[in-house]
């Protein structure tokens, strides 16, 4: 009991407090300067990029992942296909960072096999620089772990749809379309939104993949925070890093709270 609380205090609560308090300190004195620094154009654009990247890949990943989850759910419950896809997605959802960045470089980079192949059939994708841009390549790369994550999070919800609901709809005179629009969609909606929020935070807090791909500038919030830690910076800069970190925690906390609320509702509907 005591070890647990001591440990979490030192390695979880103190760091959190360091961030929260540090965000309002400068040179040992309380200040709002760091928070004000969040309105600097560089920080604002990093925040914007992060939000857009996370939102787009969350929604895109959620839609594609949901369709995939439904397709998988129509396969046999204990079949090899389902186990195969579930296991693969289990690995790919965690497959961030360096290896993922390399994988895309090897496929879509300047000498990647797809780029070469496309060039052969006459499609010129340019020198492969698009891959490093946050609103092109990064989105594609992020989708690569967002879709599998969606499958893992959303598959249980899809499987919670009872065959009786479809059959009841049919006997009451409803078509397949009616079933999806009036029954399945409303039932899955809370889970879907919840999962999308989870995907959003997942993308929003990802650092490794972006760090491995983007070598110049700090177009994203996590990269900007990382920069304040590694580069030799002027005094006071590290507290601006704390303010950005706090901003991140707030965004993620809001999303996760909403997720928890939605998750509770859908589990009531889908509980056995």
């Amino acid at each position: 009991m005591v070890p647990f609380f001591a440990y979490t205090t030192v390695f979880l609560l103190i760091p959190t407090l360091v961030v929260v308090i540090g965000a309002f300190l400068s040179g040992g004195r309380p200040t709002l300067g760091n928070v004000r620094a969040l309105t600097e154009p560089a920080v604002i654009s990093a925040t914007q990029h992060s939000v857009v990247l996370s939102a787009v890949t969350a929604v895109g990943g959620a839609v594609i992942g949901a369709v995939l989850a439904y397709a998988v759910s129509t396969a046999r419950v204990d079949g090899v296909l389902r186990r195969f896809v579930a296991s693969l997605c289990g690995v790919l959802a965690q497959f961030g960072g360096v290896a993922l960045a390399f994988a895309f470089l090897a496929s879509f980079g300047a000498t990647g096999f797809l780029t070469t192949w496309l060039a052969k059939v006459g499609v010129d994708t340019g020198p492969g620089l698009w891959l490093y841009e946050w609103d092109k390549g990064l989105m594609l790369v992020y989708l690569y772990f967002q879709i599998p994550l969606m499958l893992i999070v959303f598959l249980p919800a899809v499987e919670g749809l009872r065959p009786q609901w479809r059959e009841a709809t049919e006997t009451l005179g409803g078509s397949t379309w009616v079933y999806w629009r009036r029954v399945a969609a409303p039932i899955l909606f809370p889970s879907f939104v919840g999962a999308t929020l989870l995907l959003f935070t997942n993308a929003f807090s990802a650092y490794a993949t972006a760090a491995a791909l983007v070598s110049q500038g700090s177009p994203l919030l996590p990269l900007a925070i990382g920069n304040t830690l590694t580069s030799e910076v002027i005094l006071g800069q590290e507290n601006i890093g704390k303010a950005m970190a706090l901003e991140m925690v707030v965004v993620v906390a809001v999303a996760m709270t909403l997720y928890a609320v939605l998750d509770r509702r859908s589990s009531k509907w889908l509980a056995p």
């Binding site: 979490t8 961030v19 129509t74 186990r83 390399f102 879509f108 499987e159 807090s205 650092y207 830690l229």
Partner: protein
């Protein structure tokens, strides 16, 4: 007689195969890219040289000391993280269930809190803490595991919580106490054996997370597997990518195997609910 149902089922089959096929193709492209890249030989030929090197452990450690160092560090980190996590969580969670149910919400909150604290933020907050760790314990990479325990906390908590939920800890403990067992015996001989699957899955998730960790190690300038791969990627990309692909395939094989061993309720496999056509059981 073909019938409405059969037609609908055929349509569903087509939809399933097309959807899964397209997604798997997307998943396969970068993986194939990795394989293709690691088998490139000089002058556009195919060569298994990279993989031969990788399989020859002596050669790897001689030619790529950084990779060996990072790999060993990551393995050490994984073991240490799992140990600390188990020592910290299992007794605490069991004890809360037995004696202090009032604290369960606090423990749950603390364990799930890291979900809202991204690794990059944790790094920011941990900087002063690690100044002390380095001062007291030295510079070893292994001390990163102290921070990794926090990262794996939510996932480990969920696995163990599911495991504890499935057994009636209270009755088990009371039964063994009434038979004369001390608390130590209850823990080691009664609770732990019943939690085997949960402990296993919590450990597996932790290992997977630690082996893939890059953010904290990189920003604290420590060398684990991912950092080594990242740095190596700049000079010898082939071997670096080969390691990444090998790790991925290994992870997949472990998960796939576990989905058969653990039955339909294991880590990622779905709960055994019936879908689609319900047939009369023969």
């Amino acid at each position: 007689m073909s019938g409405n149902r059969a037609a609908a089922r055929r349509k569903q089959d087509v939809f399933r195969w097309v959807t899964i096929g397209v997604c798997l193709l997307f998943f396969a492209l970068p993986l194939y890219g990795m394989l293709e890249f690691t088998t490139r030989g000089p002058g556009g030929t195919r060569s298994a040289q990279t993989w031969a090197t990788l399989l020859d452990f002596g050669k790897v450690s001689a030619e790529y000391p950084a990779l060996k160092e990072g790999f060993l560090a990551s393995v050490g980190l994984a073991v240490l993280t799992v140990l600390i996590m188990l020592v910290l969580l299992v007794p605490t969670m069991t004890w809360v269930r037995l004696r202090l149910p009032g604290l369960s919400r606090t423990v749950e909150f603390l364990c799930l809190l890291p979900l809202t604290v991204p690794a990059i933020v944790l790094v920011v907050g941990l900087t002063p803490v690690y100044a002390w760790v380095t001062y007291l314990l030295g510079e070893s990479t292994l001390w990163l595991s102290l921070a990794y325990v926090i990262l794996v906390l939510p996932y480990a908590y969920r696995s163990l919580d599911a495991g504890l939920r499935a057994i009636d800890v209270k009755t088990l403990a009371e039964a063994s106490r009434s038979l004369g067992a001390g608390w130590g015996t209850v823990m080691m001989r009664v609770i732990l054996p019943n939690l085997r699957t949960a402990v296993l899955s919590a450990s597996f998730l932790s290992v997977a997370l630690v082996l893939g960790e890059f953010t904290i190690a990189n920003l604290f300038s420590r060398k684990n597997l991912q950092v080594a791969m990242y740095e190596l990627g700049k000079s010898d990309a082939q071997i670096s990518i080969a390691v990444g692909l090998a790790a991925l395939v290994f992870g997949f094989l472990v998960l796939f195997a576990m989905s058969f061993v653990g039955g339909p309720r294991s880590a990622t496999a779905a709960a055994p609910r019936l879908r689609r056509t319900r047939k009369e059981s023969p």
